[in-house]
């Protein structure tokens, strides 16, 4: 059984701060790991994904994520957040079926 755990339901930071949104997964085989963003009242949009190679992957709008096999993690980071980054972020594990975490709501205060 694949599981995706996002330990923080809510994260609040100030504009210009760095942020890390955590994701841990459990799966024994080869998988793709992804992050999606959902702005209020809209559908999910793809941010980035990892399958193999360089464990640090770059996404849109300055986001990056780092894969760690030893920690079974795929944390999302941004060095300097903007108020427009306020949204819900979903981590996902995909291998023909896609499993989503419960999401982390990021609030960026001015």
């Amino acid at each position: 059984t694949q599981t995706v755990s996002q330990s923080d339901a809510h994260v609040t930071v100030f504009e210009g701060d760095s942020v890390e949104l955590r994701c841990n997964y459990s799966y024994g085989g080869s998988i793709y790991l992804s992050w999606y963003i959902q702005h209020h009242g809209r559908g999910l949009q793809f941010l980035l994904k990892y399958y193999s190679g360089n464990p640090v992957v770059q996404g849109v709008n300055g986001f990056e994520a780092e894969f760690s096999k030893s920690d079974s993690s795929f944390h999302l980071r941004k060095a300097s957040v903007h108020w427009s980054d306020s949204a819900v972020y979903f981590c996902a594990v995909n291998n023909n079926r896609i499993f989503f975490g419960d999401g982390t709501q990021l609030v960026v205060k001015p």
């Binding site: 999606y36 559908g43 999910l44 793809f46 896609i98 975490g101 419960d102």
Partner: protein
Amino acid sequence: EAAVTQSPRNKVAVTGGKVTLSCNQTNNHNNMYWYRQDTGHGLRLIHYSYGAGSTEKGDIPDGYKASRPSQENFSLILELATPSQTSVYFCASGDWGGSQNTLYFGAGTRLSVL
């Protein structure tokens, strides 16, 4: 740009009525999915499809049917709507393998069953 369009965007239905949610994709993806999103539950998979004519049960299929009459269209059908089916429903399309493995979502349908 990949496009997934859902209709209607908002729907109010009565208990016991029939509701059909429609989804159209112009991505030529084989796979399509229906999710519902509720506070505290994240995204839950209802039905999915591998191509025209195929439908598969997801994690919470009870009370829902699906129809995939063509590559582009995937419908979710509530034959006898209940208040517990009040939710936001998302359709998505995607393919697996190689550089794929990305889902493209519609904007969602907000359904209220009274």
